[in-house]
């Protein structure tokens, strides 16, 4: 038996009301029903971080979160942190420092770093490594991701850089 519940939540600042089956995962709601494909599905087991979105500002894995659990809460995806005509300073830092290759893990990293810098604007090297421990990347070897985040921690990339 499939039960559906009406939920209303804020998606990237927009009030969203929708009826979802109780077993629907947040990632499927976001990608398949609401058409925001920037959030990537990879491990499906909450170990890789590719599907990271922010729930009330905190990073979570959308692949293991039930859609009904975001009722009356705020969800932010990669689309929500991308300025309408340009890049956020975090996105710019990743591009400038080559912190991505295939890009499949990148939206998850951008969301995690967004949360990190909001909570800790100037993280130490150890804090960066600790915070991004849950995001896997198979291409870059992480060195350039680390450099990108460190440049942000040092305030080297501004909103209108480059």
């Amino acid at each position: 038996m499939t039960y559906a519940l009406p939920i209303s939540f804020s998606l990237n600042g927009q009030a969203t009301a929708i009826e979802v089956p109780t077993h629907t995962l947040l990632i499927d709601l976001i990608r398949d029903r609401l058409g925001l494909k920037g959030t990537k599905r990879s491990c499906d087991m909450e170990v890789c971080g590719a599907c990271t979105v922010l729930l009330d500002g905190e990073p979570i894995s959308s692949c293991t979160t039930l859609a009904v659990d975001v009722d009356r809460r705020e969800v932010t995806t990669i689309e929500g942190v991308t300025p309408p005509d340009g890049l956020s300073r975090i996105q710019k830092a990743f591009v400038l420092h080559g912190g991505l290759q295939c890009g499949f893990c990148t939206p998850g990293f951008i969301m995690a770093v967004t949360a990190l810098l909001k909570a800790t604007p100037h993280p130490t090297d150890e804090e960066i490594r600790h915070y991004l421990h849950g995001n896997l990347c198979r291409c870059t070897g992480y060195t350039k991701i680390f450099v990108a985040v460190r440049s942000l921690a040092a305030g080297q990339v501004s909103e209108d850089a480059a």
Partner: protein, 746 residues
């Protein structure tokens, strides 16, 4: 940010479209039912319960497509879907096709399959045993199908390929040697673990088939599907959007025939999106068992080297034969060895099929040969760096008569990584260090085509079959076209790979795109330039020598004619384009590209380690990697390639291993299989790219991106050996193995 890779902008914003983001109107979803049996006869398949479920459209099973026969890229050994027998755990046995993925997945539980177990051969040793069950009864070679040549199988055995190379007289050299040393090493199966699992959408419509796939070699997919289903090549279209990581795991052909068959059965578009666990059961790096022997004279000169490599190819051959051949070539290294006896075999086992993986056969061979080098040096009482330097082949010298002369100087790379450590006052010279070097021969087939279209407004379209898998190939092609046509980088767009549009190319892999496809783009741009200059010459009646391309048009010496003016006056209307075509064949450049390898992919690595003697855990606080890349086209991207490759090396050096227990995969999930995390990467990591502008590619570039994976494991093992006198011979160097070795030493 006008010069940055356009693909990076699309990716950081989440706008980049991957295969998993595509939908085709009316498409159905397939869920693959996989074999739980290691080796078994299929007694029966009952799909009736699954079919009766609401939303299920059909179920594909072996008997539906048995008449199409088998496929392969080197050996024709693979059914579209298991027909009468399964050969490994994870082999597709049925595809449930339904309106939604949930329905397909739920209905898959209802497919009832009865197996009758067969004797199994799950390791190299079991498969080589005299009474081993045959995993394939006969071997059918496909000559020159994907690679030049083919496999040399041994009929009536599980050996699907053997490659031998002999130079000089090893026996005589060993008899005359002052010292002969033999070692044995093993290398495990490794999962590619691309962040985007294999996903394919196939749409059969009558006699034509369109496939969207995250494939590295779209023309190979096209060819296999054309042969298998009896379709004209021109009726098989393969479209490749951004690929979320490949590393060889999406090269040749993987699940495309399976998904195409599902679409053929229902005559509708079908999508199969695998999970990472599914992809871990789809392909993996070949494990290896290596015996290596070196004979040296009293002065430490290597007189002879012999090696026997056995590669675990899994249940289907894919390109495992090439992996074996390359492993034999790659075990030579950058050394001058007058006598060689090399033999490599690829062997079927009842495990996940082996496949190409970043530097095919390279990590297996280099792990053995570079660990062995330090063992030999220790045995003769020589410093390992001195032993290497004494035996290096010089630039211009051949390491084997049939291979191109070395186009680099390995002593320079060794010096650069050593300097990297010396230049840091923080570096501890008390910590254990180990070095390893590699020189590999990429299989960079010199066959490529490109189309470059220059439009009236000065914008340029580049069309190639190279896929954008993160390496920056599309931006590199755009940069080559822009430089050749003297137009800004921002004027050039590279189209996504689509066999209906892009001309034939062998594929994306083996570090070949920058050089081989890059040269074809350069040729196509030169052809376009020639055509536009011809227009000016004809219409303005000017000598061609006086004309040159400048940004936005052509300079006549006295004035600049815009592309608008040129097309308008030539064609009479205010529109038009020139279409430049460029081709690379083995005959290009007077045959200079035909000799193998096209360039040497080289690497030196130096590791500093810290060992926790209580737990056996190895940490690598510092690593330096050097490669001779000829010329850097995009520094950040090139460094990133080497850093990524080296990090994969840390993975297989320290913890990665796809494990099988009596044929059962025991860690084929992303929870159980560990890949390196950000906290595992050496905090001090120096990436050195040596540029001498002497490569065969545009501007003197060589290919790169594979070399840095090679020295990591032996460099770490050599550091462990130098400091503790323990020699780990089987990867990965887990804490338990290291701890046990430390205990044994006490």
């Amino acid at each position: 940010m006008s010069s940055v890779r356009p693909d990076l902008i699309e990716k950081v914003t989440g706008r980049a479209e991957y295969i998993t983001d595509l939908t085709v109107p009316g498409m159905l979803h397939g869920f693959v039912v996989r074999s739980p049996a290691v080796h078994a006869r299929i007694v029966s398949i009952d799909t009736s319960a699954a079919r009766s479920m609401d939303g299920v459209v059909d179920v594909l099973v072996g008997k539906d497509v048995a008449s199409f026969g088998r496929w392969g890229v080197v050996l024709k050994d693979r059914p579209i879907i298991a027909t009468d027998r399964v050969r490994y755990v994870g082999e597709p046995v049925a595809v449930v096709i339904a309106e939604t993925i949930e329905i397909a997945e739920n209905a898959a539980e209802l497919v009832d399959i009865e197996y009758d177990e067969l004797p199994r051969a799950t390791t190299i040793q079991e498969a080589m045993a005299e009474d081993a069950p045959l995993i394939h009864e006969r071997h059918e070679n496909l000559q020159d199908f994907y690679f030049k040549g083919g496999a040399k199988p041994t009929q009536g055995s599980n050996i699907f390929h053997t490659y031998r190379s002999n130079v000089g007289d090893v026996d005589a050299a060993e008899a005359a040697a002052a010292y002969v040393h033999e070692d044995h090493f093993t290398f495990p199966a490794i999962s590619h673990f691309a962040m985007e699992p294999h996903t394919v959408i196939a749409d059969f419509k009558g006699d034509s088939l369109t496939v969207w796939a995250g494939a590295q070699t779209p023309t190979a997919v096209q060819k296999v599907l054309s042969r298998l289903f009896g379709l004209q090549l021109a009726k098989v279209r393969v479209i490749v959007p951004f690929v979320g990581g490949g590393f060889g795991g999406k090269a040749s052909v993987k699940i495309e025939p399976l998904v195409a068959a599902a679409s053929w059965k229902v005559q509708r578009a079908v999508r199969v999106a695998q999970s990472i666990s599914d992809s871990m059961l789809t392909c993996r790096r070949l494990g290896a068992d290596v015996t290596i022997r070196t004979a040296v004279d009293a002065k430490g000169r290597i007189l002879a080297k012999s090696a026997k490599l056995l590669l675990d190819g899994g249940a289907y051959s894919d390109t495992g034969s090439a992996v074996a051949t390359k492993s034999a070539n790659r075990i030579i290294g950058p050394y001058a060895v007058p006598n060689l006896r090399l033999e490599a075999s690829a062997i079927y086992t009842n495990t996940v099929p082996g496949a190409a993986f970043r530097s095919i056969g390279g990590p297996q061979a280099v792990w053995a040969k570079e660990s062995h080098m330090d063992n030999v040096a220790a045995a003769i009482g020589m410093d390992p760096a001195e032993f290497r330097l004494k035996n290096l082949a010089a630039r211009g010298e051949r390491t084997r008569p049939d291979l191109r002369a070395l186009d680099m100087d390995m002593s320079e790379l060794m010096g650069r990584v050593t300097q990297s450590f010396a230049s840091d006052s923080q570096a501890s010279n008390r910590r254990p260090r180990g070095m390893a070097v590699a020189a590999t021969d990429p299989a960079n087939t010199p066959i490529a085509n490109a189309i470059v279209r220059l439009k009236i407004d000065g914008s340029i379209l580049v069309s190639v079959s190279s896929v954008e898998v993160g390496q920056g190939a599309h931006a590199t092609m755009a940069r080559i076209a822009a430089q050749t046509l003297k137009q800004p980088f921002s004027a050039v767009s590279t189209l996504r790979a689509d066999t209906a549009v892009a001309p034939y190319d062998w594929g994306t892999g083996a570090s070949r795109s920058t050089v081989v496809v890059g040269l074809s783009v350069e040729n196509a741009a030169l052809d376009a330039a020639d055509q536009i200059l011809d227009m000016v010459m004809d219409v303005w009646e000017l000598p061609k020598e006086s004309l040159s391309l400048v940004e936005g048009g052509v300079s006549t010496g006295s004035e600049v004619l815009t592309f608008h003016q040129i097309f308008h006056r030539t064609l009479g209307v205010d529109s038009g384009e020139v279409v430049g075509r460029g081709a690379i064949t083995p005959r290009s450049k007077k045959g200079a590209l035909a000799e193998s390898p096209l360039f040497w992919e080289t690497s030196a690595g130096l590791a500093e380690i810290v060992v926790d003697e209580d737990t056996g855990e190895i940490r690598v606080p510092r690593y330096a990697s050097a490669a001779d890349v000829g010329r850097v086209i995009n520094r950040v991207a090139a460094e990133g390639q080497d850093e990524g490759a080296a990090t994969m090396g840390f993975g297989h050096a320290l913890y990665e291993q796809l494990e099988f227990e009596d044929g059962q995969p025991i860690n084929a999930t992303p929870i159980d299989y560990m890949i390196p995390r950000i906290s595992d990467v050496p905090p001090v990591f120096d990436t050195i790219l040596v540029e001498n502008g002497d490569g065969p590619g545009p501007g003197g570039a060589k290919g790169m991106g594979e070399g840095a994976i090679l020295p990591v494991a032996p460099a770490i093992a050599n550091a462990l050996f130098s400091a503790y006198g323990i020699r780990i011979t089987d990867l990965p160097m887990t804490p338990e193995k290291v701890w046990r070795a430390l205990q044994k030493r006490k």
